[in-house]
Symmetry: C2
Subunit: 159 residues, 2 copies
């Protein structure tokens, strides 16, 4: 199969050195901040991103050293297909997070809703547009039961 070669556009700085320190999603630990440093050749691409409260970051799980097709999610011991969970140990090791933009200065995005490891390479940033992304009437398979009470499961806070 034809390979696709990507070049990091920046790097993510966060307080998280190990995956066990990370909340399952950044919004569940909103007091933490991170920074995205955009490399010089790409800084002009940030124009007008500061008009958005949130962005979607696509990054590389560079510390994952394995690739599985069936894996165990953080929330339970049951195994599921890798395309039905959000594990980093996936083909192509692509990560996706919605971040809250706090401020943008020159080549740096300060953000909250942090759930990436320190040093993760950034591959793309897209504006978060709720008219595009939000879905209300969804079924969320195996994960639904963990949110059924309307509360955030404790395992998502710090695993």
């Amino acid at each position: 199969m034809h390979k696709i070669e990507l070049t990091p556009i920046g790097i993510i700085h966060t307080p998280y050195q190990q995956s066990r320190d990370i909340p399952i999603q950044g919004r569940f630990k909103p007091d933490t901040q991170g920074k995205i440093e955009i490399y010089e050749p790409y800084v002009a691409g940030l124009q007008d991103l500061d008009g958005f409260s949130h962005a979607i970051v696509i990054y590389y799980f560079n510390q994952s050293t394995k690739e599985t097709l069936v894996g165990q999610p953080y929330l339970e011991s049951e195994k599921h297909g890798i395309f039905a969970i959000r594990s980093p140990h996936r083909p192509n090791h692509l990560g996706l997070s919605v971040i809250q933009i706090e401020k943008i200065r020159e080549n740096t995005i300060v953000f909250s809703e942090v759930d990436m490891l320190d040093g993760s390479p950034v591959l793309d940033i897209k504006p978060y547009i709720k008219y595009f992304e939000n879905r209300e009437n969804t079924r969320a398979g195996w994960i639904e039961k963990h949110f059924a009470t309307g509360n955030i499961p404790s395992a998502t806070i710090l695993k």
Copy 2:
């Protein structure tokens, strides 16, 4: 900068041969269907994805032949930084779409909410989890005015 090499896990089949035929987001033209064909080595990763109504697909804009840092979105003539718009002509040419899963049979995902070109290589599929992805209190910069009436702008239906 260190390059990252990815391998397509599948291919997207859609009725759209040219970008001018595509709705700005698939949900604005819900009657169209597409298929994702997952390549054989990755089919086991689909287990339990059929429990989810929606998925996030990360794919490659393989027909984009240019890369710009400032570009013009579909909705207006004003230019914006590439990280503040969803244009395919971006560094690394990564596309992201939320799709509605209609059914999954063996190596094929039949879906609606289609906004990809036919033949786009698939790089990852993640379950859509509204508890993770949805944001309600957002600012959407330059795009907000186009949705201010509560209506879907006509330019998004078919550009």
